[in-house]
């Protein structure tokens, strides 16, 4: 099964389970969790089911396209189910079957792994799912988002698409993965991997990124002061991305580091609160629809 088929299978499967399919979000981010479809929608009482592919950027993990497993940008398939259904583990395991993974032929385990993103005040409990010893999915029950305790609890399933594909296709290097017949992963992504690494580690304009961080932070606050949650969130994501670029470049000293993280955390905390308030003003529409049916 090639990468494209895998993605199609997962989309079809989760659409059948009642998820809406959305597209990758158009602001840079380090993980699918930071897509507003997860970060914001996991807040407040409204039910929510969504699935999407998220290309996630982690500048510090760039390896000039040379390392077989580490990437500047990798792909996550992200599912959010809120509230977490009682049979969520079975739902997940059935999704593996649609990828041709027969659990009787493999060793599938749920191994404790508690997830945390302090910058966004988010934390959850769960597992990494092992397929014959390889971590292929992060399985998390969110407990806190934007430094707020959440209720009801969302469950987040994050499939590492490159990992899964390299297992399914039995390839040692991500660049050898087949995207579609005749086109390899490397054909699509090796050049950007090299160029982004080169830019991140050698060329990026530190002054510009520092200025951008400050400017985006200011803009986020301005939007937030007007209770415009979604635009404010975009600018917080941008702050986070420019921080990641500066950090990968080694431009942020130890003492400054905690300060920058604190600034993003404060913004995300305010945002989380504002989002819930704005939804409340609207009367939590998705909640009413559920009760009304």
């Amino acid at each position: 099964m090639n990468m494209q088929q895998m993605i199609q299978q997962l989309k079809d499967y989760w659409a059948e389970q009642g998820c809406i399919l959305v597209q990758p979000y158009d602001v840079e981010k380090g993980a699918g969790t930071l897509n507003p479809m997860t970060f914001l929608r996991s807040l407040g009482p409204e039910p929510w089911k969504v699935a999407y592919v998220e290309p996630s950027r982690r500048p510090a993990d760039g390896r000039y396209g040379e390392n077989p497993n580490r990437l500047y940008q990798h792909h996550q398939f992200q599912v959010i189910l809120k509230p977490s259904p009682d049979d969520v583990q079975d739902l997940y395991l059935r999704s593996l079957k649609t990828l041709g993974i027969d659990p009787l032929k493999h060793d599938i385990r749920f191994v404790e792994d508690n997830w945390e993103n302090p910058t966004f005040g988010a934390a959850g409990l769960g597992w990494e799912v092992w397929l014959d010893g390889m971590e292929v999915t992060q399985f998390t029950y969110f407990q806190q988002v934007g430094s707020m305790d959440v209720s009801p609890i969302s469950v987040e399933l994050t499939y590492g698409l490159e990992r899964l594909a390299s297992y399914i296709q039995d390839k040692e290097s991500v660049y050898d993965l087949e995207w579609v017949p005749g086109v390899k992963y490397g054909d699509v992504f090796q050049q950007p991997e090299y160029e982004h690494s080169k830019y991140t580690f050698e060329l990026s304009n530190q002054d510009l990124h520092f200025r951008l961080f400050d400017a985006f932070e200011e803009e986020a606050i301005r939007a937030l002061d007007e209770n415009l949650v979604f635009p404010a969130y975009d600018y917080v994501l941008k702050c986070s991305h420019h921080f990641n670029l500066l950090d990968a470049r080694g431009a942020i000293s130890v003492t400054e580091r905690t300060g920058y993280i604190g600034r993003v955390r404060n913004l995300s905390r305010r945002l989380a609160k504002a989002y819930v308030e704005e939804r409340e003003k609207l009367g939590f529409p998705l909640l009413q629809r559920k009760e009304g049916k």
Binding site: W127, S151, S253, T258
Partner: protein, 694 residues
């Protein structure tokens, strides 16, 4: 009375392996405690635990709770009767509360006062109905280090609860908890088994076995051991079974099947601890050795399933290990290219604690302390040179890629890289040993340098946290300060380190933070907090040495300086406590101490002592003090005590013949001052009035 088997099974999503053993023990203890408290008799108890279930099966559980006859004391009769001799409102209220009529009240006398009593008879209720209320309470009282919520459920537990079984023989007890109603349906193995309906509690183990769940964890342990042994025999290998890893693996699988895989032998060039950590910590594999003890390029893992398609599972695991070892090899090669000086420079870019600067700052503090401690210890110059070097570079491996990936190899990699860099043998050894002991009761450093550096390293980190007011509270001890404090004491209890003064070492550490203006609390407060913290660890260690708690208090209150000497004093007293005259001696010291508190200030004037007994006491004290001081300088506990004991007859004589609290103020203060001097002397040994006599 009829008896039944009680089965309670809690079905969960995968419980973290490290919590399962404790969870099942709690469930057993708390359920049994509840039965006892509810007056329900029961017999033998069996427990079952897997990643997905905690179950208790109890034999001979009584069908009903035992009847209870109780006599309950009410108000005094004078309140219970009106002036006309009728039952008062208070009496009526009491009777109503106990569920009896006032005619059934009786009167009994207690300590000269008459009271109203109610004799109440509680008929035992059926166990089945008591369980409905009791089990949810038991479940909500299980404690876990981390709990979570799920779905819409307000309940917190270690992981989501998905089913429960509760039965008294064939009868279902439909307990409700965490949004689940208990029934007689359990789940088998996630992939090999299915749901199973129990006809009776007694079937539990066999029914689950038919669905590929070995519910008894000891049995799973034995199966895994047998399977490993079989692989050993078939292949001619040695597979050392790490007890912690085995315990974890037992709680990662419901139906174990051990298998082996291999890896490229080019990776055998990596240091053995790197290979072992990669396999054991990251993949939960058992490393494989040749008969001679060297590693072989194989590993053993335990699958949660049967023998079907084992080659596929083995090849998947081999692929994962291959990627991990390739990473480790890359880190190792890169790290060897990094000079120690460059590695050290990077420590200035790693944060230690926000308020305390970088790891580089911390290393410089450790260095200063190690050099100071080394001088006090009396290292000779040749060795001191090595300490200097070791203290400067002891943490350089923190900035290597290998430690970034395997933090648990800190020190071990440092020693390996230092060896490649051509450092002196003593330096290499100290880099490794300054992390010891790594666990409570773990191996201690063998070398002087390792010990001194270990002391400096641990004291620095404890004082660092305390200096910014970050003290461990309850279960919160992120830097392991309790363990590090205990380690400091263990190190100082070793014979060659008896002369090192804890007070001096702590004070030097506090100085070092003070110089940098890093103290967030006052110096006195800090020293006091540190003393209290060390005292708590000392108490634990002394208790392990079978010292009575009152003797511990007596020693600790007097002296917090040299742990070995303190322990010696405590042991000396433990040898005395059963001696007949010991109480006589302690009574003397205690009487002195009690009165000495009344002395305003020291104004002892020997010429004012008139009576024979007080002059004698003065003379004996004077001699005892000289003798004691000599013994104290020699740190000889038994001679110190002997010196104190020479005063005992004179003390008793004094109290028999001399009146201390006389009207004449000058005489009174003079006598009190004499007692105060004696008290000060005994307190240099221990605070005797802490000692308790039965």
């Amino acid at each position: 009375m009829q008896y039944h088997q009680l089965l309670l099974e809690i079905g969960c999503e995968e419980i973290p392996a490290r919590f399962v053993d404790d969870a099942i023990q709690q469930l057993q203890e708390k359920l049994c405690a509840w039965l006892s408290e509810a007056r329900i008799s029961y017999g033998d108890v069996k427990v079952f635990s897997t990643p997905r279930r905690l179950a208790v099966l109890i034999e001979r559980v009584a069908e009903k709770q035992n009847d209870l006859e109780e006599e309950i004391k009410g108000p005094p009769e004078r309140i219970a009767r009106t002036s006309k001799g009728e039952w008062s409102k208070a009496a009526e209220g009491f009777a109503r509360k106990q569920g009896i009529s006032t005619e059934q009240l009786t009167i009994k006398e207690l300590k000269g006062e008459k009271y109203v009593y109610a004799n109440v008879y509680h008929k035992g209720k059926p166990t089945s109905s008591l369980l409905l209320e009791g089990v949810p309470v038991v479940l909500s009282h299980l404690h876990f280090p981390k709990t979570m919520r799920w779905g819409d459920n307000p309940t917190r537990f270690i992981r989501p609860i998905r089913w429960m079984v509760c039965m008294l023989d064939e009868q279902i007890i439909p307990i409700r908890w965490a949004g689940v109603v208990a029934g007689n349906r359990s789940s088998g193995h996630r992939f090999l088994g299915g749901q199973v309906e129990l006809k009776s509690a007694v079937e539990y183990e066999t029914c689950l076995a038919s669905q590929f769940v070995i519910a008894n964890s000891n049995q799973r342990r034995q199966i895994i051991l047998n399977q490993i042994k079989k692989i050993e025999e078939d292949q001619g290998w040695v597979i050392p079974v790490d007890e912690d890893l085995l315990s974890e693996v037992v709680q990662l699988v419901e139906y174990p099947t051990a298998l082996y895989g291999e890896f490229d032998d080019k990776y055998l060039g990596l240091p053995k601890p790197v290979l072992i950590t990669t396999m054991r910590e990251h993949q939960r594999y058992f490393p494989v050795e040749a008969q001679a003890g060297s590693l072989l390029p194989y590993f053993v893992t335990v699958r949660n399933g049967n023998e079907f398609s084992l080659e596929q599972v083995a090849s998947g695991n081999e692929k994962v290990l291959r990627a991990r070892l390739a990473d480790a090899q890359f880190f190792y090669d890169e790290d060897l290219k990094l000079s120690i000086a460059d590695a050290l420079a990077k420590l200035d870019h790693m944060i230690f604690q926000e308020e305390l600067g970088t790891v580089g700052d911390r290393v410089r503090r450790v260095y200063d302390l190690a050099v100071t401690y080394g001088k006090t210890y009396g290292l000779n110059e040749e060795v001191a040179v090595h300490l200097d070097r070791a203290a400067q570079i002891c943490k350089f491996d923190l900035s290597t890629q290998m430690i970034g990936e395997f933090p648990e190899l800190e020190g071990i990699m440092g020693a390996d890289y230092a060896k490649h860099a051509g450092e002196a043998e003593a330096v290499i050894e100290a880099i490794h040993e300054h992390h010891l002991p790594r666990t409570a009761g773990g191996a201690l450093p063998q070398s002087e340098l390792g010990t001194i550096l270990s002391l400096a390293d641990k004291i620095e980190v404890v004082v660092a946290s305390f200096s910014i007011g970050n003290q461990p509270t309850g279960s919160q001890d992120p830097y392991g300060l309790r363990r590090k404090t205990a380690a400091v004491i263990q190190l100082l209890l070793q014979p060659s380190y008896h002369h090192l003064s804890l007070r001096f070492m702590l004070s030097k550490a506090v100085d070092r933070f003070e110089v940098q203006s890093l103290l967030k609390v006052s110096r006195d407060e800090l020293i006091n907090d540190l003393n209290q913290f060390f005292a708590l660890r000392l108490k634990v260690i002394f208790q392990e040495n079978r010292i009575r708690y009152d003797v511990i208090d007596a020693v600790l209150e007097a002296d917090m300086d040299r742990p070995a000497f303190m322990l010696e004093k405590a042991k000396l007293i433990m040898d005395q406590v059963d001696r007949e005259t010991f109480k006589y001696e302690v009574d003397g010291f205690t009487r002195v101490s009690n009165l000495a508190q009344k002395a305003d200030h020291l104004v002892l004037d020997p010429s004012r002592l008139k009576e024979t007994a007080e002059k004698d006491l003065y003379q004996t004290w004077f001699k005892a003090k000289e003798q004691f001081t000599l013994a104290e300088q020699a740190q000889n506990a038994s001679q110190m005590y002997e010196a104190l004991v020479t005063m005992v007859p004179a003390i008793h004589q004094f109290f028999d013949e001399v009146m201390v609290m006389v009207d004449d103020q000058a005489t009174r203060q003079n006598r009190l001052s004499l007692l105060r001097e004696i008290d000060l002397l005994t307190q240099r040994f221990m605070v005797f009035n802490q000692i308790v006599f039965a």
